[in-house]
Amino acid sequence: MGTFFRLSAFFGAILILAYGFSGTEGQADKVWLLLLLAAGILLAISWWPRATRGLPVFNRTLLRWSTIVLVCFALVSVQLVRVQIVESSRITSRVAVAPNGEVAINPRERLRALEVQRGRIYDSEGRVLADTVERDDGTFARTWPELSTAPLIGYYSPEIYGLTNLEAAYDEYLSGLDGGNPVEEWLNGILHEQQRGYDLELTIDLDLQNLAAELMDGRPGAVVLMDAETGETLAMYGAPVFDPNQLYANLGQQTEEELAAIAAYWTELNQNPDAPLVFRPTDGLYNPGSTFKTVTAAAIIDSGEATLQTIYRDEGVFEIEGRIIEELNRPDPNRVNWTLEESYAYSLNVVFAQLGLQLGSEELWDYAQRFGFGESVPFDFDTLATQIANDREALNNRALLADTGFGQGQILATPLQMALVVAAVLNDGVMMRPFVVDRVIGEGGEVLEEFGGDEWQRAISGDSATAVRDLLLATADYGYSGAALIEGLTVGGKTGTAELGDGEPHSWFTGFAEAGDRTLVVSVIVERGGPGSQAALPVGRALLDAAFQPAE
């Protein structure tokens, strides 16, 4: 066999192995085993002993037999590389479920979770939101002293249910594996030093968070309070809450009864129709109702197709392709001409249906995207993707386009997304990237990492943003958000009432308050709370009010 032939066999084997590494998963995947066999045959070809013709039988056969043994050793080595390097991290964190439903995890993960003193989580004032306490036996247990922030922080149950939200997203920092001096971390790993995880400092103000909890008073829903210019999240509350302390489990630390209690609590949470495990501010998808009119108005103004004073007709009923939109919001049923500003302040559905049609599906879709609809809001942890319509083609249906214009139709938004819409308007048209973890703090109190202050994207021009801000102010001034006004502050806002077909509608409020150079926006939803001005607006107003009270 020629040198060329041998070389191509060798590289063929390499290619097959490379393909196997990338194309298959698991080291006993049947395809992978066949590829290994093929690679082995090619390797044997390329290494087959040359010029053995003249040799005695035994010498010739022994040389060949050695080659086969060598190839086998090579295949074993390749498989070792696969298990120990290529698939290493996938395997070590792999969770398997037995036929009887029991879960098997890597017992080393459990030990790591027991041995590392997981970092604390503080609010912006240094109050402890998640703590790790040492037990009598030298192991550590995680506790969450504040229930109002617990769902935001997430549960930490590495044994059984895993990790969520901040506990999951910042696991490496909290475990002391990333964020500090890499050499030191590596050395700690090599020397098996007792690890102390790093602490997180949040932008959350526990007082405001607790106030949000108090205002929601157990009603399912969500509250987001953030700084429009920085993206700092001051309060992010979802109700109902759950108690992560009751889900914390380390096998071998808990008795059978305790584990049974944990499992019972888990079942209870999962069977609860109010779904406490869904963190609504980022993962609750709701129809935004009239709060979406801010986006429609911003689009029509930014595209130059209308100004605040452009007159629209509202005769009380509007028909488009068989769909009849009835106007229920006119303060004066006999008046038919309304400016854009008035239409927004009085939340006139008929006008906004026309605005949707005027924009057309392409432009409305485009502006909604600029405001972040149709994707996940970039945040500290993964958030659910919002949507404008089921797909782009669907919006070509003019009835749906009209519905979308005033915030019904197929739009789905999270409370965080709706807060960002207002924040963009108040920040000269630019959406900041929202964040909740401010800093990572090392063992000696040194700041290891700081987050925040990043732009996400521009929604509209600065001039358009000023005009839309006027709309929000007008709504509070003479429109339906009048109840939001606060003495001494500049306040604007938009309520929303998301009709659900049956029963009470969802109650929305998105608004802002300004004093000096500080602008805070709020987004509140109370599920089945009725009209926006009744349930959601008072919560938002009280929160904005409290946020601007001088600290005692």
């Binding site: 010739r60 022994l62 050695s66 050793f73 074993v76 498989q79 290493s88 398997a96 890597n106």
Partner: protein, 433 residues
């Protein structure tokens, strides 16, 4: 006098013996988490070091002219095995004192006995040739031992591989494998020409069937082991050694192909008939489907290997004892966790060196019998390594077979040292018969 000294061997022994001393010290310090230690804490390694240097000097003293590379390689592997077991024993003892209480002590005794055997073979078995004269005796003895195991053997973990002799459990298949190789080497060396010859029957060319009869017997016997003892590993080993020796002697690929195909068919039938083999196959292809029962060991082994990554956790710093059979079937996973890919590749490389040195000895042996004997004995080590390591990392189904010189188990350790002794003896150019 000075020419007698085995300098190459002495030099090659320095690193492996130092490794066992440093390694044991590492284990001791890591488990006490302290920097205090005394020499007696690592007496095992010091004794081991003393023993191997004593053996080397002894071989020099008796003017032994055999190979000088083989012994250091074996010392390196056996030293690693010593370290791993000394490291595992305390942890296993904590889990189940009744079963593992004597593990560490027994390992030391077996290792000492093994080294003595090696020395004995090199010193007293001056000539190898006599072995072939009793080839049928060996074959009979081997078969008798295996048959006895099948009839009166003790069953451990579902496989009947052991015979209780007083306080000891002996694994006869370990001794039988040497007997088989000696027999095959003798038989094939004698009848080699006949086996290669062909005769015509009408239009067909047929192999010399009468002379292949003992071979067919071997085949049947291997299948019998699978069926009677539920022991695919030993069967695979016996049959693999048999086929490779047949090929080495005859150069006939056809025999190998026929052997493989028929054996494969027989195993496939057995797979469908016997649960235990079926369990092995599931444990090989998809242990994650049943991680707490049949897949428990493979899954735990995989966690251990994957935890090791490139450099491993360090000796006594990992948790290999989550695998319950870690001291025997899964010892390679313990190496993988604590010494990482570097460690496992080094172990493989050492075995490869050992095997190639064995083949080198076979090439240079003086007559056909010795050639076949050396190649056969080396093939035992090669196949055993490949079968158990391949099973551990799920290249093939796992079968209960020992990793030579590393896994716990007296019979295996002693037999493997005899194999090394025989190889060294064969490599002695001054002994002509």
């Amino acid at each position: 006098m000075l020419q007698r000294i085995r300098f190459t061997e002495l030099q090659l022994l320095i690193v492996p013996s130092a490794m066992t001393v440093v390694g044991l010290l590492t284990i001791y310090l890591a488990s006490t988490r302290d920097l205090e230690w005394e020499w007696r804490d690592i007496w095992v390694s010091l004794a081991f070091m003393g023993a191997v240097f004593f053996i080397s000097f002894w071989l020099s003293a008796i003017d032994f002219k055999g190979d000088q590379v083989l012994f250091p390689i074996v010392v390196c592997i056996a030293g690693l095995g010593l370290l791993v077991l000394q490291r595992l024993a305390p942890d296993l003892n904590e889990i189940d004192p009744a079963a593992y209480g004597n593990l560490a002590r027994n390992q030391i005794i077996y290792l000492a006995a093994g080294l003595m055997l090696l020395l004995g073979v090199c010193t007293f078995v001056r000539k190898i040739g006599w072995l072939r004269r009793y080839k049928y005796t060996w074959a009979f003895a081997g078969i008798a031992m295996m048959t006895l195991t099948m009839l009166i053997g003790t069953e451990i973990n579902g496989a009947r591989l052991w015979i209780q002799v007083g306080p000891f459990t002996v694994q006869p298949s370990e001794v039988a494998k040497i007997a088989m190789v000696v027999f095959l080497a003798g038989y094939l060396a004698e009848n080699r020409d006949l086996i290669v010859s062909q005769y015509r029957l009408g239009p067909f060319r047929l192999p010399p069937l009468p002379y292949l009869a003992p071979m067919v017997l071997m085949w049947g016997f291997s299948v019998l082991i699978v069926v009677m003892q539920n022991d695919l590993g030993t069967a695979l080993l016996f049959f693999g050694v048999f086929l490779s020796m047949l090929y080495l002697a005859s150069g006939r690929l056809l025999y190998v192909v026929v052997g493989l195909v028929t054996f494969g068919t027989a195993v496939y039938v057995a797979y469908n008939m016997f649960d235990r083999i079926g369990v092995r196959v599931t444990g090989w292809l998809n242990p994650w489907a049943d991680p707490l029962d049949t897949g428990f060991q493979p899954v735990q082994s995989e966690y251990a290997l994957a935890t090791g990554e490139l450099f491993g956790t360090g000796l006594a710093q990992g948790h290999p004892t989550f695998i319950t059979q870690v001291h025997s079937d899964y010892i390679f996973s313990a190496i993988g966790e604590e010494l990482g890919l570097m460690g496992t590749l080094v172990v493989l490389l050492l075995f490869l060196l050992l095997v190639f040195r064995g083949f080198y000895i076979a090439l240079n042996a003086q007559d056909t019998f010795k050639q076949l004997l050396a190649a056969g004995l080396t093939t035992i080590l090669a196949l055993q390594t490949l079968i158990i390591v391949g099973g551990t990392i799920r290249l093939i189904p796992l079968t209960g077979i020992t990793l030579p010189f590393v896994s716990a188990g007296g019979s295996s350790l002693l037999t493997n040292f005899i194999i090394i002794g025989l190889l060294m003896r064969i490599s002695d150019p001054t002994v002509t018969r």
